[in-house]
């Protein structure tokens, strides 16, 4: 693998992981909010 391939892999893993983690946190908040009876419409400002 040349250095550019490794660099792009590094950026992809870092940005991809942070994006996936952020989505999981928001989704968990929405799910628990829904269980508590706080409608999904209340979360649209996320």
């Amino acid at each position: 693998m040349n250095s550019w391939g490794t660099i792009l892999l590094g950026y992809g893993l870092v940005f991809g992981t942070i994006g996936a983690y952020a989505l999981s946190v928001v989704a968990r908040g929405r799910r628990v909010g829904k269980q508590l009876g706080i409608g999904a419409e209340d979360h649209d400002d996320e």
């Binding site: 490794t6 893993l13 508590l36």
Partner: protein
């Protein structure tokens, strides 16, 4: 639980939405500066581009674990006399630790890739890398401890004590490159010494640190609020179970 308090617990707000958009926009700038506009380094060539993702990861991990340590210490000192404050302190400690673990994991991955280019190998059991893995595993254990079923106060207190013990490793990780002969390079920026990178590279690095810090802040606020929502759910579940048990007892008597 009052509706007003519930609404206050939601994970979104105008401030966090603004912070979220600012974080997203700044990450796009990091991509552009890191992959396109940043110059090559005289020694490392293109590989220096990994500096902009690797260094912010470990700095944020350090910051997160320091927050966990401070709030855990305050929890141990204050939670017994002030339960509400204790729960707040515990939430901050837990959410910061989770973010620290994510960023430490990314430090290890981005560092391994950088090592593959500059050292020719993904991994070496040198002091910096080994102590960083130890830090990662320790805080994974801390997060696992927070999930164990127990009385919330007891669980939080145990976690706080583990967090305080884990803090001992932080200076060891940071100063490992000075204390032992390691393959890992020394600190990229040190007070009083001439930086080993050009100004263009240092400015891009500084911007990347700010951008990822905004992201970590956004994540931390949301994670805190999710923990709070989960606590409310747990409390309501217990209250409903007690009410159901009382109703059963009344029918039986």
């Amino acid at each position: 639980m009052q509706q007003a308090e519930r609404k206050d617990s939601m994970t979104g707000s105008l401030a966090t939405t603004t912070l979220g958009w600012a974080s997203g926009a700044s990450l796009i700038v990091v991509l552009v500066t890191g992959l396109i506009t940043s110059p090559k380094d005289a020694n490392q060539g293109e590989a220096v581009r990994l500096l902009y993702v690797h260094v912010p990861m470990i700095w944020i991990a350090y910051g997160s674990f320091i927050i966990t340590a401070v709030y855990s210490g305050l929890f141990v000192a204050k939670a017994a006399s002030r339960p509400d404050l204790g729960r707040h302190l515990d939430r901050v400690a837990g959410s910061a630790a989770e973010i620290g673990v994510v960023f430490t994991g990314l430090t290890l991955v981005s560092g391994a890739l950088w090592g593959r280019i500059t050292w020719g190998v993904y991994w070496q059991w040198d002091a910096r890398l080994t102590t960083t893995v130890l830090m990662f595993v320790t805080y994974l254990g801390y997060l696992a401890l927070r999930k164990l079923p127990a009385d919330p106060y007891v669980r939080s207190r145990r976690a706080a004590i583990v967090a305080l013990i884990a803090t001992v490793n932080l200076p060891i990780v940071h100063y490992s490159v000075d204390w032992w002969r390691t393959l890992h390079q020394g600190a990229s920026i040190t007070v009083g010494n001439k930086p080993e990178y050009t100004n263009d590279i240092l400015i891009a690095l500084l911007f990347a640190v700010v951008a990822f810090t905004l992201v970590a802040l956004w994540l931390g606020i949301h994670r805190y609020r999710v923990i709070r929502l989960e606590e409310i759910r747990e409390e309501e579940g217990i209250e409903m179970a007690i009410a159901a048990r009382r109703a059963e007892a009344e029918v039986g008597s």
